[in-house]
């Protein structure tokens, strides 16, 4: 039946072209979608994820953008990113520390509200949260670095004296004062943003950054000999002769050459 055959081949051809067209369209649409979905991974530096959030890649596979965490937050800290306005993936929760920081609720209601595990329910102690890490980004304008006693970021820290300490050192400008440098200890910093929120400068000198931006990674081949020596309680290499250290400064024999140098200032009556 040639008539039927032509019909059949015509319909088969139509089927094939239709399928090819649909498949082609899907590859196009899929590529556009993939571009948009991947683009959504570019989380701006000042957008901090809620406590317990999985790392950004895992978070985007887990968060269904329901907003329940935001509803759970009693301080209106969290926001959902709006299309075309906020940089974070549309509908995902984040906060801007400078506007409203996280108050580190003891019962962590945002995590309890999350149905998917995008905020990891295994976070039980809010002190273990790592939303980000505070970094004193501008030493040139930080009032404490200028020698004043502002101390605000230090005072407001919920993990005061662990996450942030004041490190005293000689104030070389005045010559007879100390500077108290706010110093963040990343291991204890939760990234709550209270410090950034409270910084008295018009633009905060201390800022919470996502961990990926705030932290360096030690190279595997670099070993901290002094730590290993302490742990071992003895030198790492046997039979090394320990020569006396030739430190500069008053009270040593090393105020002048060879090998020493003159200190930049002298305290009257000290040493010698």
């Amino acid at each position: 039946m040639p008539m039927l055959d032509t019909l059949r081949s015509a319909s088969r051809r139509r089927f094939l072209t239709d399928t090819a067209r649909a498949a082609g369209g899907c590859v196009l649409a899929g590529s556009a979608l993939a571009y948009l979905a991947r683009d959504a991974r570019a989380l701006p530096a000042d957008a901090i994820r809620p406590p317990g959030a999985l790392d950004e890649d895992a978070f985007l596979s887990a968060c269904i953008r329901c907003g329940l965490c935001m509803r759970g937050c009693p301080y209106d800290t969290l926001k959902l990113a709006e299309l075309g306005i906020d940089g974070a993936a549309t509908g995902t929760p984040y906060f801007t520390a400078r506007d409203v920081p996280c108050e580190m609720c003891e019962d962590i209601p945002c995590v309890a509200a999350c149905p998917t595990g995008a905020l990891d329910a295994s976070l039980e102690d809010i002190d273990d949260a790592q939303m980000g890490v505070a970094v004193l980004v501008d030493q040139e304008n930080c009032l404490n670095f200028l020698g004043l006693r502002c101390d605000v970021c230090y005072r407001v820290c919920p993990v005061i004296d662990e996450a942030i300490t004041l490190k005293a050192s000689h104030n070389s400008r005045s010559g007879h004062h100390a500077t108290f440098a706010p110093t963040v200890h990343a291991e204890h910093c939760t990234g709550c943003g209270k410090c950034e929120h409270s910084c008295v400068l018009p633009e905060a000198a201390i800022k919470v950054l996502p961990v990926r931006l705030a932290r360096a990674e030690t190279a595997d081949h670099y070993r901290r000999g002094w730590e290993e020596k302490d742990a071992r309680g003895a030198p790492l290499v046997e039979g090394v002769i320990d020569l006396p250290d030739r430190l500069p400064g008053p009270g040593t024999d090393n105020l002048v050459a060879p090998g020493g140098f003159e200190p930049a200032f002298r305290l009257d009556g000290a040493g010698q």
């Binding site: 979608l33 269904i64 907003g67 709006e82 299309l83 075309g84 509200a113 595990g117």
Partner: protein, 286 residues
């Protein structure tokens, strides 16, 4: 064919049944759409917390979790195994739509439906041409593409563009530029492709369609012998390819609308002056 073919669809039903019964399911449907919005909005607007969250995931009366199963499926494909709460929520939604007809979601819940219905209404009023009509199956291809892209990028890919959840979230949490996306769909349906979005492209609708393949709640045409070929049901049905097998089937074939594309909107029941259609339970009895 009778002369009535040329009068607006449903005019005859309005005369014989009265305006109210000729719009019964349409009114119920709009009420249902408003009801589901009100559930989510009463909290943020009036402090009356009934349902928190969005259509993607919600918690009702602090006890009932619901999750959009298509979003959950993409999350699974992207490599995340959700917590039990989300899985239970997705299970409940799946079970409900498997019984009630998957695309009941489209007709009775989805916030985009009034937009595309509005575009269709205007399209008819302006007498515009059909425009581009991609195959109805295109949405299944898009559904597949959304899942593949989720797997490849490790993200819940469709949520990057999904106008359904975006509009819903926008109404509850803040719009951003979502209005532009919604306008785009309206204009697309109006001038580019009649019934283009919901009828041909939306993978969410396609997903729910698959969920409802074995639905218990269905439209049936038990009185199909009384059909006088006015074609009104074909004019109002958003998926009118589903009607013929039930309405024009040979004697002995099922009068049930069996296609998963049927949205259970009940508009065909409304506009039929001969009362050919009705909702039925059970997938075998007429």
């Amino acid at each position: 064919m009778s002369a009535r073919t040329h009068s607006p669809a449903g005019a005859e039903a309005r005369e014989t049944k009265g305006w109210l019964s000729a719009h019964r399911y349409l009114l119920l449907r709009r009420a249902s759409q408003l009801f589901f919005l009100a559930l989510f909005l009463s909290g943020p607007w009036f402090g009356l917390w009934i349902t928190q969250g969005t259509l993607a995931g919600s918690l009702t009366l602090n006890i009932l979790p619901l999750t959009d199963p298509f979003v959950a499926a993409q999350s699974l494909v992207a490599g995340h195994w959700p917590e039990l709460t989300a899985l239970i929520g997705a299970g409940i939604v799946l079970a409900a739509y498997a019984l009630l007809g998957g695309r009941s979601y489209c007709a009775w819940v989805c916030p985009i439906n009034p937009v595309t219905d509005g575009a269709f209404w205007l399209h008819k009023r302006l007498g515009l041409p059909k425009g581009w009509q991609p195959r109805r199956g295109t949405r299944l291809w898009l559904l597949g593409a959304a899942l593949v892209v989720s797997g490849l990028t490790g993200t819940i890919a469709w949520e990057a563009v999904n106008p359904v959840t975006m509009l819903h979230r926008g109404l509850i949490f803040g719009m951003g530029f979502v209005w532009a996306l919604v306008l785009l769909i309206f204009v697309f349906d109006l001038v580019v492709a009649r019934r283009g979005w919901c009828g041909h492209l939306c993978p969410v609708g396609a997903f729910y369609g698959l969920v409802g393949t074995k639905s218990v709640l269905r439209v049936s045409a038990p009185a199909r012998a009384a059909c006088d070929d006015c074609m009104d049901c074909y004019h109002v049905c958003p998926e009118n390819q589903v009607i013929s097998p039930a309405l024009k089937g040979k004697p002995g074939t099922s009068p049930l609308v069996l296609s998963p594309d049927c949205t259970n909107c009940g508009r065909c029941i409304d506009v039929c002056a001969m009362d050919v259609f009705k909702f039925t339970l059970g997938s075998t009895t007429p």
